[in-house]
Chain length 369, copies 4
């Protein structure tokens, strides 16, 4: 560690108040741990909820569950990444945001995302959780034993990797494990935020014949189009409401609907719309309803009459992060990922949160250094 003694971190001390910058000593890594220097710490809707106090998490808390950084020191037994490559100081890496318990039914039945004993950096691991430095909005972090760590391929710009740090693995989970895109599929993506763009990007990569991005507002759709996401862009936030866009989907699909509809909005009424846009024999992948916003009206007959697969997908694991990293060379060749990101210095964390809350940016990323 060459005399390194301290680092700065953005700390949430009180729900509903500003995030403050504090200074902390950087400990040496214990058995299985890795100390990383954070280069980019992503800002998510979850972070907005945390600041507002909507989730019960331990305070004070260093925020930040997404990150790209550089290996500083590896503890004993932590010298390899997920793919078995040796880890050395200076290597650029990403890491999983959560650690599952590995010995419950959820973990054993192969859905560690459902593990009730998961701990999550920047969310459930507070300052009091030894050895601290558990969030990516900081100069340094201590990655716990059991964290999935993956080296970035050389050709991938770290900022591009940060652009879909949460959305990318979330959609890898949904699309690799829950309902893969089949070459030739017509795909509708509901939502034009990062999760929607990740859905579109992975659908393109997997050979979709047509990707129809249904979202808004217009500037978001423009940014998506300019960056390579989607073949068609339909605005559901226009003055006439969503109906013209829904009708356009049916037109584009010859009246049949889409083979696969991917919900990435978080808005309950989107579900009724998605069920209408799916073709008979098609699938509806529900990814965006991450927060409980209560009931919505749907027509359950459509599920039977169209014989749909309606599939939820919750979070992601280290394996999904690793597969996202594995796809980054292909993603960066085809899409302009860096164009999606607006960076902020660590001190501007509150501004970044405000901008995310207002939908003013596609993806906010904090730069610690």
């Amino acid at each position: 560690m060459n005399g390194l003694t301290s680092t700065r971190a953005a700390v949430l001390a009180t729900f509903g108040e500003s995030v403050g910058i504090r200074e902390f000593p950087v400990p040496p890594p214990d058995e299985g741990q890795i100390v990383v220097a954070v280069r980019y710490g992503g800002v998510c809707g979850t972070d907005v909820h945390l600041r507002a106090g909507f989730l019960r998490v331990p305070l004070p808390l260093v925020l930040g569950h997404e990150g790209v950084g550089t290996v500083v020191t590896c503890g004993n037994g932590a010298g390899e990444d997920y793919f078995g490559s040796p880890l050395r100081p200076g290597d650029q890496v990403m890491w999983s945001s959560s650690i599952s318990c590995g010995r419950c039914v959820a973990c054993g039945r192969r859905e560690p995302t459902l593990c009730l004993r998961r701990s999550t950096y920047g969310v459930t691991l507070g300052l009091a959780d030894h050895p601290g430095l558990s969030g990516s909005w900081a100069g340094h972090m201590v990655l716990r034993a059991g964290t999935t760590v993956v080296k970035l391929p050389d050709a991938v710009p770290p900022l591009a990797a940060a652009s879909l740090a949460c959305a990318g693995p979330t959609m890898v989970h949904a699309l690799h494990d829950r309902r893969p895109v089949r070459p030739g599929d017509v795909v509708v993506v509901q939502g034009s935020g990062p999760v929607g763009l990740a859905a579109a990007a992975l659908s393109h990569l997997a050979g979709a014949a047509q990707v129809i991005l249904v979202g808004g507002p217009a500037e978001r759709l423009d940014l998506a189009a300019r960056s390579g996401f989607g073949d068609h862009h339909l605005d559901v936030e226009g003055p006439d409401g969503p109906e013209p866009a829904l009708a356009a989907v049916m037109d584009l699909t010859g009246g049949k609907g889409a083979d696969l509809v991917i919900e990435c909005t978080g808005s309950p009424p989107a579900v009724a719309q998605g069920l209408r846009m799916a073709a008979r024999g098609g699938a509806y992948l529900v990814v965006g309803q991450y927060t409980d916003r209560g009931d919505t009206e749907v027509n359950p007959h459509l599920i039977v009459y169209k014989q749909l697969d309606v599939l939820g997908s919750w979070g992601f694991t280290g394996a999904h992060l690793a597969e996202y990293v594995n796809l980054l060379p292909a993603l960066t060749r085809r899409f302009d990922l860096e164009k999606l990101v607006v960076t902020y210095p660590l001190e501007a964390a509150d501004q970044a949160l405000d901008d995310v809350e207002a939908g003013a940016v596609m993806k906010a990323v904090l730069v610690a250094g």
Copy 2:
């Protein structure tokens, strides 16, 4: 045909009016056709809808899409059943209710149940469709080329086979193709009509650790229990409404919910309840919402948070009928299928329809002979 010249059939001539008995000549079978003597013609909720005029079907119409009968004469090229056994006069057989086109996307993508060109005995094939005699509420029927025909195993009483003639293959489709029961699964079945009982029976056969039947009224649940269907029986039609039953499901599953919930009610609000009863990582098989009864409120967050598979299943094919017949020896060994049936003479078709509409019988079956 030994001089056979005529047969009787129950004919719907005008929507909303009584079914009448008429006499018809029995034609010899053309290429690929089989003439059968019907022994039992099942009565379904669909038939109630047909009499009421809720579906646009050709009139006049010999009703009856379900049947068990005896081979009278096989046309050229129709001498084998689905499993390749020779068919001979006197053989007891069942046959598929529908014929798919075999050359559309639905048929080609392997979901012939979604074929838009399907023709269905007793529903879309009217008297005017050559050669007529297209419903099972009759002494004789002419099975068209392309109909799946299956011989009944010797040990199976024909009335037992008739008990789940529609419900059995419907659930074979749902459980063999859409979401199989895994040995050790805890299964909740919503609905205690024939489809619910078929769901329970197939779940038992497949090694479910526990089958919880949630339905009503009490007499139906009693009949189900006495006939061997379900390990627990919860009444959602009692004076306190469904909530106590839903709470009991959570108690019986240690607070976790069921691995698989199977909806067999046709009642839209059941869907919101079913989503609540499924465990995280579980599946919800929606089979009962066959008729469009409009919207209902559900919480879409549950689909994501629990990472559910919500799977619709529509109708069945001849292959599913054949697999039902193949399971009949095991089903009759374990369940008292004949106890589910009330028989009526062909002349009492209207009474049978009234009793089905009133829910007064579990399964009504017409006896032509």
Copy 3:
């Protein structure tokens, strides 16, 4: 039909002898039939076997199971293609090579490729099978009721469509139904004939991270590389035998082997090699062992130790052909399909067969007219 009275066709009259050209009247189409003018009739290894008499087929026989052509006249009830588009004279179409029975276990269990009652144009349907004209090595063909017919997208050159007429749908079956490529997969393809090239092309389209083509001789690999198939090309027919190529696969995969190995050689010893090249947890898709060439030595421990999926795939259906046609716009954008083809006039059918037998051409196609 505007006075059309006759067409020419290449007829095999005696096993082991030359194919001769004969003249036939073109009948009007019956119910469900379509008369097409054949533009390209593909030549396959199967045709070489037919001429040699290795298969028991009815003689005399118009050869040709693969074709691209133009609609001349549609019979009653045959006015739509598989996707529901209207068919009109002059439309460019492809058609399925086989018709399954639709009412046996194979057809019902959704594997019509295994149907024992299949009839195949140019193979099992001889001149004596009414109405004749059942092979694509002819100016005209009569497509039977039940044939899957698909219109070619406007942008697709018919010769490009003909290049993988058999190999493309064969690999669609294997890769869409048996073991899909997952985005990020490392894929090894064994064999550099048309089936191998189709495997490589579909793997690229589906987002494979790396496609390693293992085949030979060198000119075939060069043609494959120049036409866009494969990222790496390894020659197993070189003077040192296959071992250097196998070692190179392990090098290219970091010693782990491939996620998916696709066998497209037809050579039994390739199977032992393929099992060695698959990674632990990987899959081995066996497509090429179409002909029974007897036993070969394999190490069955590898199947268990690596926990492999070893999956056979047999033939294809009309649905697979339709999905191939559906992918042709994407395929022609990315690969130079026409470069794979050498055309011959109908009179040179024997020369084409000789060249296919000698491996002198990648794909031979007859031009009828």
Copy 4:
């Protein structure tokens, strides 16, 4: 621990020599650990190989990777079993034989059985691995953090649980994850040792229409039949070799072969036979080829012509053990599991190994206490 100071264990000190009994202090459990009193320690073919020195494992080694026992003391953080039930001293439990790393591709891609960093009680964890007592052939064991522990249901006799302690979870892995039995399937099991009987038992539970057990010698098949395993029993070790048994399988299946063939023999030539006994469209689950015994001759054309799924399955995880325990009430209701076991005192470990090696017993179990 109430003054407990020591326990006895069977120790392999030198390859090829006898197992000796030694005395060890029982340490208190560290964080995450559980000290158990072993009631039954199973003996496996693997143990025979270990004694013979066929595997490189650390010596000295307390043998025994299978066990049933009683909780003595739970360390901090180890107070719950896999299903979330509290663990208390005196509870009867089983535990997983191996612990995977949880952070490699195999673990992340959901096949922890393929993890190269697995540690296995009684195999890779020697006396020198802190805190020792790592094998079940002992009075006590220390279960490491990360071990899956499952309470036995009250109704299950511990000796019954021990009967298939390794074979049961091995087949749960194969049949729940790799290729489930479908209700109505005709299943052939090759091999009549514990793995074969577990395959038969789970196939019965899952609703197989018919289970044909192909093995030998005659006494083993008799024991299987008397204990409830299999509907038909065919001897492949008789004087006429395996051919009559293979022919009998075809007779019993109407010439079609089995929907599922499960290989549980460990003998390479069984693989060629299994491929012959599978039906077209069927599956071949290869479980027994655990040890590399070199090449064998197979006909690879059968994999394509029959379009088989040939699926390897390797080992099992804690989740599979837990699902086995979950099925034990159903298994003990239907099969006489205790009849399969011969018990030996700990001192007779060498005799037990000799008997297993000679095939003289179905299942040998050591009794420590």
